[in-house]
Symmetry: D3
Subunit: 335 residues, 6 copies
């Protein structure tokens, strides 16, 4: 793969590098026709990718279940990730972290494969951009905590469309975000129930409570089983000897919890200090959260909260005006 | 809008025309991030668009509910459709029909809007390609009829993600198609139940039965309310004085029906002659179906079945090797 | 029944009149133990009770199904209502209307019946107070319309606790109101779905849409079948020759409606001009609503909107600080 | 708080003591309008309150989730309980136990707050009466055991109205009792399933089975998590080294259990010897039940069964004619 | 088919006549292995079979959906029915009616087909016995009416096992009967809800209510669509100009109905005068019921009620000791 | 019981022995009327019955819950099994194993008990036939593994009809088999979900996966709790120190498992190597399966796979033409 020398970030596209603004998917691709795409989004700490292998494994699980016939191997995928980062490294600031977005599409639907100049697919794209885009506005959340609001929008049950496959048919995430945006106050993030009435997940994060010294997170059924979720459960909690279990929980359990928090790749962890305006515990960022975040920071050699705070204070990225929601969106009132 | 003079089909893209293979969506677009796109697919009869206004109305209903802040008016949208067709007309054969695909995306997520060269959106794309791509392999179905198979995959209930908004978060359609492709025999199309156990829809078509002279189609709840479905119900049946009602139906009702058929824009109507291998009525294409199709053909001045048959016989389009399923897909066994 | 001569409103209590502040229920009454009370709330127009017989009929239906062994007959109940109003008449302003609240409780639980001074029950209470308390702050809603918000709180299915019996186990109404109070903006009223995802009712009102000249209201299953709802359906619409049907409807149907409104005894009808912030029709009070309200006003000889406006403008009743929600409540942030 | 000297039991009411028959709630209180009340019912053993702090904690959890803005602290609440008992002590027999009922209501709805003489609320009431009222007729159940009947009435799912908040919107409890009262034979108590078909709870008691030496009780989702239930699980079973787990159970598990029993504050524990007429185990009171009850009696220094038997034999309380059901009610056939 | 001359009733068995006590199914037959049998039960009026063709049609619908490969035609089936009756005629009393039971089994499972002397199947059996067996104890019900009790046992949803196919996997009917038998009083028949909480059917009868002059019966989804139900809806009501509709109904609708009744082949119609002990209408047999029964009697030339009464009064058949339940069963307490 | 000396296998029938082809159930028996029969099917290893006591215990659990008043004791039942085998022993080949089928029916419905020559019941039948009938065609499955297909047919929830009672109302098993038979390829077995979307069971087998060294099988709710399932969980896994847990699993868990297998009495265990055509693990028979089967074979002194292979190779039983499905059936296309 030829090394990029340009001034514009490059995106891996089926073995080539293309400028970021040309990283596009044909409108005839199954990805756009059906939301039929498997993807991953990763990050680095101190420039080193975190749990990249785990992300790639999850990607290939999705490909297998969706029967997307990708011939590229996981090893080749990993190699391509590193090459993409290398090609863009000169465009990153010294304090930047690399956020990778790996997209795999099934490719053109059969009936569109004669289109001139079209690649049949499957298609693999790997984008590499500064993590600060995503998180620079979140530093306040480490201090004030999120107010989760339980939306009327519920998650789709896994037997209808499995959230454990990280796919792009997630319009309901966006609908939940729209709903949360109508609430008074700030720091509101959508928290969705499943159709059994159990807490499922946020629109891009996993949810945890702490009760009597035990960390509890919803069973891995109607959620994306996040890599950060796994890291907290299987590594941080083991290191710190904090018991951590998976269990169906309800709003009641959140109201009566001592602490709550969410996990997600870009920000690692964020505290949740209230549910629908009712404070959780004493309404402040809790000690278990702090202990976990400190250990995580130590493990990856990065002051996670401090780094995000530093990105926020220099105001370099002005576009993310609505970043405190997990994924911002445009709607009539904001356009 | 400048007239295209090239040899390649052009796609309308936010007011410009671009070559078809450049009709692409940024990977940072909400359309790819969330399956967050509203779309329509139309067709012409004898070169004249059929129910274009109705398609555009439905498109704008979806935009409204999803809060996509499109400033382009329905009138401008319609005009753009006609200009796109005009631009491509010289590339169509005389016996071709125009299939339009109108895509509207919300555009780049907020955090990605600083990407160099990126258009913030919303984005409007109008593609125009020969209808024969989609339907040329379907002529046998007019004669033999479809064997519907009820898949384990059920539709997503409308209160979780509303199918009445024609959107792109439809991975479950693809899963149903994969399931149907595992059945013995040919002409198998997936027919999905809703979570109440009622017949909902195919993966791209509406379903009807005929019983004792009455045409019955599922209530318009957990389905896309197809333009062709509306045409049959509100126009053809009125013209022909055939009673037509919306009603929850079950597999039992299909097994005991006199006839069954599906409707869809590209093929108008196709007969369904068996359900999971058990013949419906006498297992042949029924008289009500024939009457409706004849009237439809007459109304639009096109021998609908004959036209598709003619496209099939000259084998001009070889790509659509798997056309008899409503939307073909690539999977490990076919790649 | 002795005529009251005092300065304080009197409440009918098992055949006697007691001062309003002594109209209380024992904490040992099944009404407080189980929410086990059947009730009605009525109003007058021009001093004349509206549909009192229908209210009393509904009350007795509830008593029958709950097996509350009341010996008082419907005729005696009606008589008691009139006597109660007569007793209080001198305390009402000339432009006041009478709002009656009829409560019937089963009485003391068996194990508490030896309490000294306690009446075993069943108990019948009829309170009579100025309607302006309830509605004086609603006049703005006739002009601006309500913004309905679909809450996460859904109604309890009728096979678990039947809303068609007007009972007092309705804590979930209050929870929906709390939820709606957290939304930005004003004029927000909770609109609840049933567990099938259909629009059910507000917390004290029935919901209607108007589409293509037809008035549609949810089927009478998971709702209280309001007397006002019946009046619109069976009388006003008949008088005005407007077709009116009961049908399961969803949010989609509201978004695509021409108009929407709610009915409730105290205010008769109020327009709904948006759903979760998205305008319905052109976002203004619609012509069908206006026609119905005008006819209703004419039928009862009262300018319904004008009367409420007059009560609002003279600011005589300062207590109803939060009246624009259907039933106000106290919560930590307002106390 | 002034000491009562009268001959009538006194009830704590917002800091004052009022005679029991004046312990009443205004009909304009949210408690009667919506079943919007949080409450607790406790008991003493040997005159000493049992788990009073745990009851008060649960009370305040409910207040928090329902957003009832009570300013009284848990400590003040506890103090008020003791003062109330002290005020009534002289009215209790030597062998009596104190049953406290703590009620907290939100108070008058906003629109009714101008009523003369009305207290706005929230209101706190603490009643204190002899436990024998509730349990004197239950002594036969310690010997014969309860026959649980699974009613058609199911519990309301916790995401619609959470039973873990001890509230007064429980008309469905009463409906289940009515249903159970129609069964042949005696000793019939209603046992309700949740909407998933799992055993939930009785109408005022928690359910347990014993199988192969393990005590099993339904998960704490769709039930009130009883203080007695907690005591059995977290204290008695630990003391006695009997494994005890929470697990979804079904009728099948009850039919095949070795023993079954219920727990509830007034009676502590009662054996269940049959389900819908089919005997559980050998149909007699089981050894695990006896062991637990013996330990409980020992821990509280009271012969629990003997005490109830003594209350029954002297027939002092004649009102509780229908006590063997958990909560008696009046209906047409018994009035 | 040879004419039977014996003294014992003969049963048609695959073209032969066998004595009734030899009309048996092999334990290796799919009918016993899976409850895999389609059947019909008919009756005569005045010796003439009623709606035999309709019964046979329904039988063949079931065979088709279950894919039972019967080669015998409906015409041959009808002929066999008549021949069977003819063979048994001499054993019937003059005032007897013929109850036919037609059973069709798939036959031996494949792995058992080598059993010596076994017929592979499918098997057709037609039994012919006196209707009085079934109904002689029901005459009291024409006078007193049935008390329907809503059982906890609900019907199986049609998408799991379709009740519209009259099959033998109906253990849940028996469970409902056992449940109903535990109720106090007499004349109790089980009435089952479906899993949506709507009234479905009895265990062998269809349910109707009468409200404001309209006859209403549950939609034909989760029920057997009885031949008698069809006769009432499509013939009797048409003759008598009584409007009759299919509609989802609930317990509430029954409690508030003017009348209720059930239909079933052996007894034609029976009044339902109470629901769970609460009287329907005035608690007496209603005028609409009487009108329908009179017309039915007239149409078939038989005094339906009188005939059953005559069978009861002469006490000729002593076996039917428990006939007032729709289908009697043996259980520990009755054996 | 008199010893049989004949040439035909004998079946135990209420204390007598009857020839196999006369082992039949009256069409008036509740077993045929309602699918109201409890049964067991066992096998021997090396001629010695395996877990016969456990089978009989499960049988009596079913009898208890269904209230079938059988007076025969479990001990007598066991004795009858041995006597039946002894009576047939001379008809078995040396390498045969005994498959017992124990059927218990409630007997004739009350209204049919006067039929001449009929036994009232309950009836007990014990058949004894060569196991090879059932399994001889399954030897290929030990090598290639089963392809499980998830059918649209789901299991009936246990609160509607409990699968833990081994009963004969299982028409839905047959429907699932018909559905699976329509799939391309061979070795397809139906795997049913429950209505919550969890994997339940096959039509005659329990399902297991192996993941990271742990064996996981669905919770025992909506399944028959197979004796072989218990043996694997409670004995084999203990002996081999392989952790084995019960847990709700989904299709996702199967796709991502290392191995999968089913258990069932006739074949003990069979490997599952793919799910709906997607290979599980590496798509080959896995080491955990092999270890378990080896231990099982060792424990019972029988080479389980080898024995089945030997029965297949000598082709003595030609009837089982469709044996690779769990229970073969006849349908129009195969008759």
């Amino acid at each position: 793969m030829a090394k990029s020398t340009g001034l514009i970030r490059q995106v891996f596209f089926n073995g080539c590098l293309v400028p970021e603004h040309e990283a596009k998917i044909s409108i005839y691709d199954s990805a756009l026709m059906f939301g039929d795409m498997v993807f991953e989004m990763t990050r680095s700490y101190g420039g080193k990718q975190f749990k990249l292998k785990e992300h790639i494994d999850r990607l290939y699980t999705g490909l297998k279940i969706l029967r997307i016939p990708l011939t590229m191997t996981p090893f080749e995928m990993e190699k391509a990730c590193y090459e993409t980062m290398e090609a863009n490294q000169h465009l990153f600031l010294e304090d930047d972290e690399h956020r990778l977005m790996i997209d795999v599409t099934r490719g053109l639907l059969g009936i569109y494969q004669n289109i001139e100049g079209a690649e049949p697919g499957p298609n693999v794209l790997i984008a590499d951009f500064p993590l600060r885009w995503t998180v620079s506005k979140m530093s306040i959340l480490f201090k004030e905590g999120i107010n989760c609001v339980i939306t009327n929008q519920r998650v789709i049950p896994s037997d209808l469309m499995d959230p454990k496959i990280k796919n792009r048919s997630r319009l309901f995430y966006l609908m939940a975000n729209i709903e949360a945006s109508a609430y008074k106050g700030s720091n509101n993030w959508a928290l969705m129930l499943d159709t059994d009435g159990f807490i499922a997940e946020g629109t891009g994060c996993n949810f945890f409570i702490v009760k009597d010294g035990v960390i509890i997170t919803p069973e891995g059924r109607n959620i994306l089983r996040g890599i950060s979720r796994e890291y907290v459960m299987r590594e941080l909690c083991v290191e710190l000897s904090i018991p951590c279990i998976e269990k169906n929980i309800e709003a009641f359990d959140v109201y009566t919890a001592d602490e709550a928090f969410v996990t997600g790749t870009p920000f690692s962890m964020l505290p949740v200090t209230s549910l629908s305006g009712v404070q959780i515990g004493n309404g402040e960022v809790g000690p278990v959260f702090k202990t976990l975040l400190k250990q995580w920071s130590s493990n990856v050699g990065t002051d996670i909260e401090g780094q995000i705070e530093s990105w926020d204070s220099d105001h370099m990225v002005s576009c993310a005006q609505d970043a405190p929601t997990p994924y911002s969106f445009k709607s009539p009132s904001t356009s």
